[in-house]
Symmetry: C2
């Protein structure tokens, strides 16, 4: 009989893991802050609150990140778990300002998985990595019993090189910064949900999954002093803005009408009872930059396909520290909350 360790901290009365603990929202943060960090002890002294850690190597700096992908189904409009696992990790490096140096890939495969499916997904990973200009240099393969892994789970890790002079961190965000959104929101999450649930929304929804390192490189070329970047993955734009507001102890205020939501996303969200700002994306980012450089950025970004709809959506304020507010079409302001868990589970 295995004796269980005591778990001294309250988890909003959760004594078991729930799906919401994996949603990238408040419960995921609680799990990290109240269970993992204290349990890791001294080993977590240098743990990062963002998706990529920065490591000093000789005179330079590298970024280091990892993500597991458990998206269901494995294939969705505009992508698949393999491509997603490359884009997500490349993007976490890009948010630290790093150009990807190498990726690793670890597979947990389900016994009985069709080799053709694995081949198709591996091919997709290779193509995605090549397009992002990075190699898949090391990896691992484990197989678990039939029924245990939904076909496959993939964990990629990445190492990237941070150019001299680039210093992207939530802590650098200050009142007065402009908040820039790189494009439309909500396509990845609604695309996966539509195929999973067999929903038809008239217009086909296609994931926005894409590697952001090229866009980030061009943004840094015109504005090396960008303060912070954040991709809009689990928890969507709302979670990204809330995270920055909290870590930097600033207010974030944006204009709802300025946020581009594709009509098909709007329709799908209406049907599903979701707010597009909570839906996961995999090819979108927000940038926090000095206001005087924001115009140059939104002129440069559309030169890149992934920045075609770049727009200034708001600003950073001293008041309302830690809080995100949105100005509605009626001119009122509402507080934007981070959801407890992901409203769309298993999206990445």
């Amino acid at each position: 009989m295995v004796e269980l360790g005591s778990c001294p901290l309250p988890f909003r009365d959760y004594d078991k893991v729930t799906i919401a603990h994996g949603g990238g929202g408040v419960l995921t943060q609680e799990l990290i802050q109240k269970l993992f960090i204290p349990a890791f002890g001294d080993a977590a002294a240098d743990a990062t609150p963002t998706d990529a850690a920065t490591l000093a190597v000789g005179a330079g700096r590298i970024a280091f990140t990892t993500d597991s992908y458990v998206v269901r189904p494995l294939f969705f409009p505009g992508g698949d778990i393999g491509q997603l696992s490359v884009h997500g990790t490349v993007n976490d490096l890009a948010m630290a300002g790093a150009q990807p140096l190498a990726l690793s890939t670890a597979f947990v495969l389900e016994e009985g998985l069709e080799m053709g499916v694995l081949h198709r997904i591996a091919t997709s990973m290779g193509a995605a990595a090549t397009a992002a200009g990075v190699g898949l240099v090391t990896g691992d393969t484990k197989v678990v019993d039939a029924g245990l892994a939904d076909g496959m789970y993939i964990t990629t890790a990445g190492v990237g090189v941070i150019p001299d002079g680039v210093d992207l961190r939530p802590e650098r965000v200050v009142p007065g910064d402009a908040v820039i959104l790189s494009g439309t929101i909500g396509r990845h999450g609604t695309a996966v949900m539509s195929v999973r649930e067999g929903l038809e929304f008239g217009t086909e929804l296609v994931s926005d999954s894409a590697p952001l390192n090229g866009l980030v490189e061009s943004m840094l070329s015109v504005c090396p002093d960008i303060h912070a970047l954040r991709d809009l993955t689990r928890g969507g734009m709302a979670a990204a803005l809330c995270e920055i507001a909290e870590i930097a102890s600033v207010g974030v205020r944006y204009v709802e009408a300025a946020v581009p939501v594709p009509p098909e996303v709007d329709a799908a969200c209406g049907f599903l009872g979701l707010d597009p700002i909570h839906v996961a994306n995999e090819g979108r980012l927000v940038a926090f930059a000095p206001a005087e450089e924001a115009e140059a950025l939104v002129v440069e970004m559309p030169q890149h396909e992934l920045g075609a709809d770049a727009v200034i959506i708001g600003e950073v304020t001293e008041e309302n520290a830690g809080v995100v507010t949105a100005r509605t079409a009626l001119g009122t302001h509402r507080i934007v909350d981070q959801p407890l868990g992901e409203q769309l589970p298993r999206i990445c």
Copy 2:
């Protein structure tokens, strides 16, 4: 309906993934060489045949590795999945001669997992990382539905710094090299198997799971020119020796009687119908070093707890390139094969 990709290469007539494809034996190698590498295409141009890739960063070199852990059960005599996931990745870095700089940890958790279990395993990871002198700096948490993932799967990745002058690669192994084994074999795999199957072998079997970076550091201090190191994980000592023989195109010859097998491992293997040389370890290595430095190594290694039973077990030969042979107690020689798959599945 999802259209499946074509899979042009023969997989010994396997059109589906089997448990053996995750065993670290010949079938795992086939999956990597015939499916992953071609499917990854250009992205795999710099892929490594060993467990850790070496990357140039500025003037220095770093090692980069990843492994998924799917051991069943989560707790076993002498360890648990958390500790194992730290040791395994630290050891892959150590086999490249690298001192660990940072680890990442990605969890796939099963909905309904007891928080107390997660807490106990996270605590174990923190303690293992601290003991190995490395931090857990970044990570990810995903949750999948109840019934999937056997409680949890953990994927750790690691980055390490390779000291100047250290160059450990299978390709450097040459005829005349001595083959040194760091200690007894077979304890990890038989310990996990004994608790999984509820077997009783009289004497309790305890896993050998341990971080090898300290031992490797002391070995390199007396012999910086060690040619290659390999830990004896999936597939055991046999797989490690076969891999080196094949990559370096050399023969490897060892003396069976020189390999220390604890009596309790011997008994368990007899009961299970296994050969100890095929059983996974997590705190053991083989070293290939110039013969004239081998004595200094086996004098130095016992200074470290994990090298207490270090012994020269054989040598590298020009003849029988790619083949491992063992001299039996009768004085005959037998060819040592790499198993098709792991005889003990889900051991790491």
